[in-house]
Symmetry: C2
Subunit: 213 residues, 2 copies
């Protein structure tokens, strides 16, 4: 019955962005925000914003706007970022460090409980409060800690076999930074492939377009 059950995928894709702005407003103590103001921030239109927000309940008040903290709360709920899933990270290189130190520490949705690498020089050292373990501990660790999610920061060539191993150890979701599209053959697996350089190519495209205008 709840409207909230069929939110279109384009709205879902915009939710993290709404969430960021609402969090910022909330932290500044702003209690209400209008569709027009949100639109300005989102580089969208007031109409679009109202259409979006309307599909998960009525949080607005005519003449006043939307209640920031209620809206923030319902978005957290829809995205599921109130949950806490145990996650591990494999590959303690540059990106691995960045993720462990700068992304995960915000402590939303995932708790980083283990870091693995195969380099003997790295094993034993500390990253963001965790000791780097040997990859050969992967299987037993995943089984005993019921790890749901693996963050893959290993080189291209290593991804497939590691993902296989992890799948067999019960891991069913992957956040993959390896520059290689992981395409698991099982359909009970969730994969988010991240390609940072895609956005660099978009930047390049826009630069070229500007220059040729």
């Amino acid at each position: 019955m709840a409207k909230r059950d069929n939110i279109s995928s384009s709205v879902i894709r915009r939710l993290p962005r709404y969430y960021r702005f609402l969090r910022e407003l909330d932290s500044r103590g702003v209690t209400h925000v209008s569709s027009g103001e949100l639109a300005r921030r989102m580089r969208s239109t007031a109409s679009q914003v109202r259409q979006d927000l309307n599909c998960f309940g009525e949080f607005g008040q005519q003449g006043i706007g939307y209640n920031v903290s209620m809206l923030r709360d319902v978005i957290e709920d829809i995205l599921g970022i109130k949950c806490m899933y145990p996650a591990i990270l494999i590959g303690a290189g540059n990106i691995g460090h960045a993720i462990a130190n700068q992304v995960m520490f915000e402590g939303r949705c995932f708790e980083l409980i283990g870091i693995f690498d195969k380099d003997p020089d790295k094993i034993g050292s500390d990253v963001g409060g965790l000791v780097i373990q040997n990859v050969d501990q992967l299987e037993s660790f995943c089984r005993s800690h019921y790890v749901t999610t693996a963050i893959l920061c290993v080189p291209k060539a290593a991804v497939e076999p590691i993902a296989e191993t992890l799948y067999e150890s019960g891991v069913r979701s992957f956040w993959n930074f390896s520059h290689y599209d992981l395409n698991m053959k099982f359909d009970n697996v969730i994969v988010e492939n991240v390609h940072i350089s895609d956005s660099l190519m978009q930047l390049c495209f826009r630069l070229k377009k500007t220059n040729s205008d």
Copy 2:
């Protein structure tokens, strides 16, 4: 006249993905690929692929498929990744290191010619073959080297003022990793804001959805 002039934005967004697959096929020595095969890789449909590829010229041959290297070439051309823009990076923390070492070194579209930080302990040390310079050198460096693009890997709070300075020194495009949406007030500026954790939230959403089905 050229079809190529009005490629829709949704096609543009898919180009980096096509590009990746074509590059892989090319490196494996595959000369032709069908829309069906590309669709399988893109998790799309053959119809979609043909529609997409058709909007920038006729590279297919009935009964045979598309010429991989020609297609790759035309995509490189459209995205403008054959150009080489001088870029600098500010903030030699974890993400800065990751970008400098793992993303930029592929040597496409941008050449990293300078790295800056304000931490005296970092200044002078080497990252990916470049010596970290003091941020107070930023302005003079940008002016003398005609820097077009800045990669911002600094904390939230530092972004606005640094972007201002850079703008005044002639920088007109920004690849921003600071977890803060940079919204320059000038309209001759290109900004790509990267929010890595958005994809983490999408992962979270999909996990929650799976669990509740």
